[in-house]
Symmetry: D2
Subunit: 363 residues, 4 copies
């Protein structure tokens, strides 16, 4: 069962609401002996942190992570994991619940208000409570640990579409992109996106996005044939992120229009004596198992549902009404979804790495 847990051998369980005292997670099954510090986790949190540009929510959260268990300082002064559960916690500081007071009786379109209320009969309406994207901060923190579990793993994400504006795939340039506030691949696209987002923000609306996540250094053999396919678990992880409406691996939906010849990545022996794929439509996964190529996934984020413009809805007394969301929100939640997508990819790979090692003794 997995209401609020993700993963099996390497598993996170998260807790916390947007406007409660704190949010946090427990990482269970992390191998022992991995050096990790709060500072190291913090660097990843800082990338996701709100308030860094005008395109993200102005909520000011330091998002300072504390490690409460599972890490021990050895006699050498190094902090390493002990194999026991690692509890991470981030205090909520800048929660302005009164911002939400006027909407506590209304079901905001596109939000979880209606479904939470009908399922549970009660909901913490302050800042969307558990449904808030604030929860993703702890995923990023846990992902920082997960990245260190698979030796040589590198996981990077980038925006490939904002609103209707796609990046030219050929020029993705993942590496450089991470230096820019928008995680942009190149200047020209950056200008188009920035202009578009300015317009969206001023108009009181919001925009969607598509994010690509690439994992390099993935060992061959991760995954399992049928209900624990590596691509299945990556998609599950990405779909678990708030506002995500679609996921794809490798060539994804485009592959439906390919011919069999175009689609099936040919192989040859590299002069150095190792097998080599001549393309990567498969996105690094065949039959649910990693091929050793980069693992490539993309996910689509819908426009932020919290918008300034009014939308028709109903209230808890069953009357028609309108709602306009005045809280501090990202005009495009997709921007901050980049490090979250990276974190989910890392979490899936860490879990499958341990499972693969368990079942086969490899790795």
């Amino acid at each position: 069962m997995s209401h609020n847990s993700f993963g099996h051998l390497f598993r996170i369980t998260t807790w916390g609401e947007s406007h409660g005292p704190a949010i946090g997670c427990v990482i269970d099954g992390c191998p022992p002996g991995i050096p990790i510090t709060e500072a190291e986790i913090q660097t990843f949190l800082d990338k996701r942190r709100p308030g860094q540009s005008k395109y993200t929510t102005q909520r000011k959260e330091p998002d300072t992570v504390e490690i409460l268990s599972g890490v021990f300082e050895t006699e050498d002064g190094e902090k390493v994991t002990t194999g026991t559960p690692i509890a991470l916690q981030i205090k909520n500081v800048d929660a302005r619940s009164k911002d939400y007071g006027d909407i506590k009786d209304k079901f905001r379109p596109g939000h979880a208000d209606y479904t939470y209320f009908l399922k549970y009969g009660v909901r913490d309406w302050r800042g969307s409570g558990r449904a808030s994207a604030r929860e993703t901060a702890v995923r990023v923190a846990a992902g920082a640990v997960a990245r260190k579990v698979v030796p040589g793993l590198r996981v990077r994400g980038a925006l490939v579409q904002i609103g209707p504006h796609q990046v030219d795939r050929g020029g993705l340039g993942l590496g450089r992109g991470r230096q820019q506030p928008l995680l942009l691949p190149e200047a020209k696209t950056a200008r188009v996106w920035a202009a578009f987002l300015d317009e969206v923000r001023k108009s009181g609306s919001s925009a969607g996005a598509v994010i690509e996540v690439v994992a390099e250094g993935v060992p061959v053999g991760l995954g399992a044939p049928l209900y624990a396919k590596l691509d299945q678990d990556i998609c599950s992880g990405l779909m678990s992120i708030n506002a995500v409406k679609g996921v794809e691996i490798g060539a994804g939906f485009a592959s439906a229009a390919f011919s069999g010849e175009e689609n099936a990545d040919e192989m040859r022996m590299h002069p150095n004596g190792t097998p080599e794929f001549m393309s990567n439509n498969a996105g690094g996964i065949l039959g649910g198992i990693s091929t050793g190529q980069p693992v490539v996934a993309r996910f689509a984020v819908k426009p932020t549902s919290s918008i300034l413009n009014t939308r028709k809805t109903i209230d808890m007394s069953g009357s028609d009404t309108e709602v306009s969301t005045k809280g501090r929100h990202d005009p495009c939640v997709g921007i901050r979804a980049v490090p979250i997508g990276e974190a989910m990819m890392a979490l899936v790979l860490a879990d499958h790495y341990l499972r693969h090692r368990g079942q086969t003794g490899q790795g």
Copy 2:
């Protein structure tokens, strides 16, 4: 853990290889007292069965299902589930393993040959063994049981794209579609698809497809906020089907280009006093929980990797070679994926229905 299991409270575990003596599954957690017969399950299997048209593999498999446990004939002569595990089994009849003899030492591009071998060090090469789409027959059988778990549930799928040819979304006409061999929505599209597939088949190539699955009668409240989102588990289920490379819910990838106003489905009170959504971009799910609207998912299937045309590859001795697949294969596996997608949708909904009832007492 879930190498070969899917679901939690309602869970299937499947087994079997393409050319072994049989394939089967165990359904665990099915509620007691549900009337079910082999004949009823068989009607769903017959829809998936190969050899029904020139567009699907010519392997002749009767796919006769046997119920080996978990169903009991009461004194009234009715066969009902007992709450204990239901074992379903389908014998393999028309397995021609020698068809595959010439490729047992080669890694076929697009197939799981390479990754299985590197992961496990041994593989059943006959008809792709465990990686064969033959396993999906038992999913369809299990899905027939799952459909009966949620009262009032109707799950229907249809092709919406074959190769580059998309159906006009507006004219989907799911209901009628199921009468046609290609599960086609209308005559005009059917002719285009048929002509395209004839061409693909004659040229020794293959084509991909996109399938839409719609579930009606889904109670509000199924799913959970974060790592057991209903959409997440539907995507996981659909991605677990062989050859699937992408999945989306509701407006899916298209929602990335929507404005916030377009995307967020407005609500109003119906004159009959019940809440009503004015659109369904969300695909029937908000915050991971069902809204009561139809649940809509789509998934992309890559072209069949087994093609007559030669492709470059390597063999087990590490030499460059070529491969051409002469076995009996579907030119477009997407066609037979329709009932499989329906089955996975039903399995996810049955599981979440029981989980929701467990946690909240509703349903």
Copy 3:
């Protein structure tokens, strides 16, 4: 997988070391709408708290529980569960790590020192780290919530043996017993046990115990036939408590010497028209499923391994040495195990109650 989680639909995940900043747990799957306050949980923690008598460790821990998520104050001013994860946290206050400095290089007999070190290669030696019985405080806290999940449930435990001194079963008197510091059934036994424990404490030794836990108000039907038997999960829960070496249900080990006639509890119709068992050797469970009778379990706790008297052991350099434990320890950990056993019983019943309701719609 369940390194540090227990339960399925109602599941706890615990974290924390004896001498870290805090310990805690996440309760996942708790039904919504259950009134719960920190004060209510605190009453159970206070029963387990150390330092309450001369027979328990003199470590002074206020064990103040904080609810960090999953509980919401409604407009009525009532605090209720929301269906989202409930994070409980208890700060560690009186941790004197230096007490343990002289034994950090020695493997204490009967403790987890040796096995933790060989498994993980590193261990938090301060106060036994994760292996400390301190973790059980959060079980008691979680158990306080679990008790409220099953309507009408009452769970009570009592010591039935300390060292070689057994209580007379006939005079158990569970209800009154809870008023006494030792949870004693009657004055005579209390005097024997107190004298025995005084002697044990003065001699620098320790003693074991047997605890009985009885759950009343358990609905009929909880459990499942084979690998989710109610008795199996109760035993699993009790065996997960530190220092427990045996568990039994109903007549337990004694039933091996019974005749078939003695053992099988006869039934009859009560004059009020309901079925009635004429004895309860089964301990309220038949075929893994609750009968509606009181559920009765017992578990044996070995003597505290931390004793003042010296024991032979080895150190981390692989040399023979001796060890004497001077930290503050319970001479009989069994005394404080009573509320922990109650908590585990409540956790198992809450989980099975939800599972039963999910699968069958009952309850």
Copy 4:
């Protein structure tokens, strides 16, 4: 969730009723490359098979196991596991359902009849259906595979008590015992037990038993600190066997009467430079993790509930009645429980071996 599954990385899911067409199980997660044949599994089944002596049921079941998937004959002619699910199946041959016709409306005391009926509303009354000990045949088959997963593992069980007659612990002689029909340690005890069982059988009654299972060659490090303790999972496995009412590890319940000095197993360095325990009260497990010593568990089996002598009960119409069981039954099910206990021990160790290897890379 685990209604009918046991284990995590190495997991079995069983199915089948006593009088259905067959029983079986799926082994999921077995490592690839392990040589296994039907003949090898059969040797263990033959030990459990009914009808071998006058002290066990006279039902004649050949219990012939078939492997339906997951094992592949390599070019060398060796049959090895492939890493995919292994389906095992045993046909039911000698099912005489009419033997049970006269009790289908009565709830037999000590049986699961009453609880199954109240939980599920329907039950397969033929030969107890799913509640029959017949299911344990597939455990023994699965255990034969599990034994091969942990290199060097040896698991042996023996009766240590029948009715009130205990064996002298000192003279256990596990190895030799396996040659005898009753798995007896020595001739003198055998004569006492045989005489006792003759008397029990003639009197139409039944007797309980206690079985000890010892695993040698268990690597150090298996298990986990709290909710995946090795001893916890062994107890869970043994309690999942029909009719088991108690389980204990090492000194078990007896340890409650020990002093701290007696209980805590001292250590020293062996002259060959390896650490050595000077006793094994812990039963090979400290803090939930294996020490490298033999793992020792015992479990108590209640007397067979199916007895010839009449017992008071009620029927399905809610009237008082009597019942006498005339089917073919073991007077002491404990005798045939020996290989089942061994199988459960092997299953737990195989699972934890893979989990340990996964988390730590050891093994």
